[in-house]
């Protein structure tokens, strides 16, 4: 069988052919009983594929799927996602802050003559309101 005609035959089943191609294919089909048989077998095979496919699952498929959905891990809600995103974004800042704090404490501990030890770890007992009223400069 002519490979080009065969290619045309396959293409004719799934895509439109030009008038010239259509004419060539029809002539070839009229002349060749082998090609006609090939076309018929191809059509039968396509029909069997379309008819033979299982088009449903076992009974109760929807229930099984919904049970699976319920038993699986629930999707994170938006708030949890937001918290996780912020945590990831501020993690480097928090680490840098801790490092700076550790350096400052170490420096002050190494130079006790500059600052008394109590003052290094001093936590003010001032209330927020009082702190806000303190002069900055």
């Amino acid at each position: 069988m002519d490979k080009r005609i065969l290619k045309l035959l396959y293409r004719s089943l799934d895509a439109p052919l030009s008038k010239r191609e259509q004419g060539r294919l029809e002539r070839a089909l009229a002349e060749s009983p082998v090609l006609r048989r090939h076309k018929d077998e191809l059509a039968a095979m396509r029909q069997a594929l379309a008819d033979g496919a299982a088009r449903s699952f076992r009974a109760g498929f929807a229930d099984r799927t919904l049970n699976r959905l319920r038993s699986g891990p629930a999707r994170e809600d938006r708030l949890a996602q937001l918290v996780r995103a912020y945590a990831a974004a501020f993690k480097p800042v928090a680490i840098a802050g801790l490092v700076i704090l550790a350096v400052l404490i170490s420096y002050n501990l190494a130079n006790k003559d500059l600052m008394p030890q109590d003052a290094i770890f001093y936590a003010s007992d001032l209330e927020v309101g009082q702190l806000l009223r303190l002069p900055v400069f």
């Binding site: 290619k7 293409r11 191809l42 033979g52 496919a53």
Partner: protein, 184 residues
């Protein structure tokens, strides 16, 4: 996506069970045809089908409605089926042997005169196609998607789909002829 479907999707996003069920019931047949077409019959088929819907529901917040629901779900079904094929291949390699064939369906006792058996032979032949041909044949000839839709779903050019379809059918025809010749 039509308005009714958009409403169902919106309700499904909020977790309404009746909407989820409606989606499953509407697309179950399509997913079954795709998964069975690619994997053949077997216990994994149901599992892959369920997982297809579970993945779809869990990704609903990302589904913008640019593509049809059916197309989106089918794409998930194809990916999961192809993963399952890979898993089977690994299993077969690990076992050093082919997976056992269904005892109820020995190939040398088939009678191709019966329409049901012809369908079964075609289905078995389809199982022997390489995945890239099988996927195109299933989407185009079993699911009935157009060449354009098939191309979009698989991320291929339409020309490639047509060429794979032609080669897949030619190969399938060859396999089927071999199977029929081999029978006693």
């Amino acid at each position: 996506m039509d308005r009714t479907e958009a409403e169902i999707i919106a309700r499904a996003r909020q977790g309404h069970e009746e909407a989820l069920r409606e989606i499953i019931e509407k697309y179950e047949h399509q997913v079954a045809a795709t998964v069975t077409g690619i994997l053949g019959s077997g216990p994994e088929v149901d599992d892959v089908g369920q997982e297809t819907f579970v993945r779809f529901f869990r990704s609903l917040h990302r589904f913008r409605g640019d593509s049809q629901v059916g197309t989106y779900i089918t794409r998930i079904a194809i990916n999961l089926s192809l993963n399952e094929l890979k898993r089977r291949k690994r299993y077969t390699r690990f076992q050093g042997d082919e997976l056992p064939e269904s005892a109820a369906d020995p190939p040398n006792q088939r009678n191709p005169e019966s329409a049901a058996d012809i369908k079964r032979i075609v289905g078995d032949g389809l199982g022997q196609l390489r995945p890239e041909f099988k996927t195109v044949v299933v989407l185009r000839l079993i699911d009935g998607f157009s060449t354009k839709e098939t191309a979009e779903m698989l991320g291929l050019a339409q020309g490639t789909v047509l060429s794979r379809l032609a080669r897949g059918q030619a190969k399938l025809k060859e396999i089927i002829a071999g199977m029929i010749e081999d029978r006693p």
